[in-house]
């Protein structure tokens, strides 16, 4: 993250501050970004609030307020608030961008060398092929009947009594991963229970899940025609077990896929929204100026 803030005097070309609010199914993510007229951008604040069965509007508000506090700005300082994900609930938004649009933008911002994005959230996974301007050229999403998204992993982790943060390392210690066959998350959970009662180690179970998830994601990536390197965004980017499994599976299937992650991957959607917000703000401002 650059700390250099270039000061620009002219009104229409001044730096602006925008916010992106990504309302996911498991967490609300907020990003506050300052952009220069030349497109250089700086992250001022990032904040994630897990929803965990709390009232969504309240969670959104809390996350937003917290982000503003971190950025030390007032709501009136914001030139544009963009929502993404389930954005209807962000009643203070100015515009909305669709999820893949924002994830692509956010991914490219965090990991400029990416040619493809794999966004793995709580309920869906989507693979996108993007170009240098973070335009989504092709994509695939998992359909309904697909376990192996974040929520499933989360349930299993809870069930195994492992904190989400430990899932990755635990999985990496596996010696003999046990593959889960069911496509349905509910039935897969039962498979997991079976494994526990067969005395299979937590590592092997988690790794097995990661391997089968990785297989599914690779399929998704291929279907979207994705090219290496692939940037992972969404909550599961934090999961080293998964990224390792992705690497291994790709190699096993003879695909050369370089997997990129970034500590702020989970904020890709929010960042993308904030950045597109900035873009949109300038387009609108230019239009207004042109009219005057």
């Amino acid at each position: 993250m650059s700390t250099m803030i270039a000061a620009r005097p002219a009104e229409s070309t001044a730096a602006i501050v925008t916010a992106g609010v990504d309302v996911g199914s498991s967490a609300v993510k907020v990003a506050v970004v300052r952009t220069e007229a030349d497109g250089a951008a700086d992250v001022l604040a990032l904040c994630a609030e897990r929803i965990r069965r709390r009232e969504l509007r309240k969670v959104i508000r809390e996350g937003f307020d917290e982000a503003l506090r971190q950025a030390a700005i007032a709501p009136s300082d914001l030139a544009y608030v963009a929502s993404t994900g389930e954005g209807e609930l962000v009643d203070f938004r100015r515009g909305h961008f669709y999820g893949m649009t924002t994830h692509a933008r956010g991914a490219k911002f965090l990991m400029p060398e990416a040619h493809a994005v794999l966004d793995i959230g709580a309920l869906h996974a989507r693979a996108m092929l993007i170009d240098s301007q973070s335009r989504v050229l092709a994509y695939r999403m998992t359909s309904q009947c697909a376990s192996g998204s974040g929520q499933f992993l989360e349930n299993v982790a809870r069930y195994l009594g492992i904190a989400l943060e430990e899932v990755g390392e635990t999985s990496c210690r596996a010696k003999n991963p046990q593959v889960v066959s069911s496509i349905c998350a509910v039935l897969a959970e039962t498979d997991v229970i079976n494994m526990v009662s067969r005395g299979i180690s937590t590592s092997d179970i988690l790794k097995g899940i990661h391997v089968s998830m990785a297989g599914r994601y690779l399929k998704l990536l291929r279907a979207a025609g994705a090219e290496s390197p692939v940037a992972i965004t969404g909550g599961l980017a934090m999961d080293v077990g998964l990224t390792e499994a992705l690497d291994e599976q790709a190699r096993k299937e003879g695909a050369e896929i370089k997997v990129l992650t970034h500590p702020q991957s989970i904020f890709a959607g929010a960042l993308g929204a904030a950045l597109w917000g900035g873009f949109r703000h300038r387009v609108l401002a230019r239009r207004a100026e042109a009219r005057n």
Binding site: L56, R158, V196
Partner: protein
Amino acid sequence: MNGIRVCVGIDLGSTTTKAIVLTEGGALIGKGITNSRSNYDVACEVAREEAFIQARLSLLREALESDPALSHLQKGFLSDLVRNFRMEQHLERLDLLARVLREEAAAPRYRGHKRELDAVLEKIVAVLQERAAVHFGALAVRKSDFFRDLAAADYMSLAEQLGDPKSIAFETLCALFDAAILVVENTPGGSAFAQHIGSALERTLVTAGATLQAFGAKVGRAVEAARDTELVVVRTVGTGYGRQRLPFPKEQIRSEILCHGLGAHAMFPSTRTVLDIGGQDTKAIQVDLQGIVTSFQMNDRCAAGCGRYLGYIADEMNLGLHELGPLAQQSSCRVKINSTCTVFAGAELRERLSLGQNREDILAGLHRAIILRAMSLLARSGGVSNEFTFTGGVARNPAAVAALEELIRENYGERRINISPESIYTGALGAALFARRAERAAA
């Protein structure tokens, strides 16, 4: 010391494990249930132990009833005794939980906030202990029979109050609980009856009136007798989803179809159709007048519309399973719901709530949708031509029952519909009956 020979049926379900204890004469003396899902051996043991507790309580009741001097005080006394016994059990589990929580909190990852964390945990533990008296108060209505549910509900609401993003986050507290409850659930309670009945009796006697205290010694002897009776298991039959995992020889395992058929027949001898909705599968079974299965259909490839679906919904709404049905019944205008995919249940619910639909109406729609799925299975198996029995955990849900009754009436006309509060035990009962039959055939 006297012993009783018993046959045991175990239904190892996907969500709950049930056990039934029958005497050789065929009397049902105990039933037990657990929601432990982690380990089939443990689940099996816990359910059986629970059933034994009940069996001993039945023995006690018999003893009290047969003693003319005691029979008049038996009713209120016994329920107080049971309540206190449950409280003792609960407290013991809480102690264990507290111990594990403290151990977990000692993990290196919490080192930075160790002091704050301990303080919060102690606060929570103290409140949980206080709450035990509330849960097991004389008039209390409990949200659930399971320790996990009771403890989790209290714990989470406290965690939300006490959690603070700047020091000990709600998240952290949740993770600690998740880890600890698992250990607790995987630690069988041992011979709980022997452990707790003494203190439960003391508690009961302390609060009881003078008449009862006068009989204290006599009651104590009855309790001891029940405690020391040996329950000799002559045969066990296992069934249910996880039956292949039971450490039993093949001939002691029966398919759940047959067990549900026979169990339902034993409860309601003229039943001809059985619908069982369990945690992750649904079965429609036709039986003849001997309880013999003539045709069946099951839905086991997709968990949509099964009990776990309701479980997810309950979790999502932060409600107990008990509360779901009654809430749905308050609806005045049911929402039409087409998808019953369990995985996406939570998302669907949130989406609908955010569209401003009313919670009760959504719930009513969900219940209807589940039953609609079951209706098609019923139709596949041959329909409802005669007396009908609804079994499995979902039969405990009044909104599901009401939706089923309505749809059966609409599609098959007036039919006698049996629902019993014991319906969740149907499979285990069938298994126990098979055990008893086999035992008699062998004898």
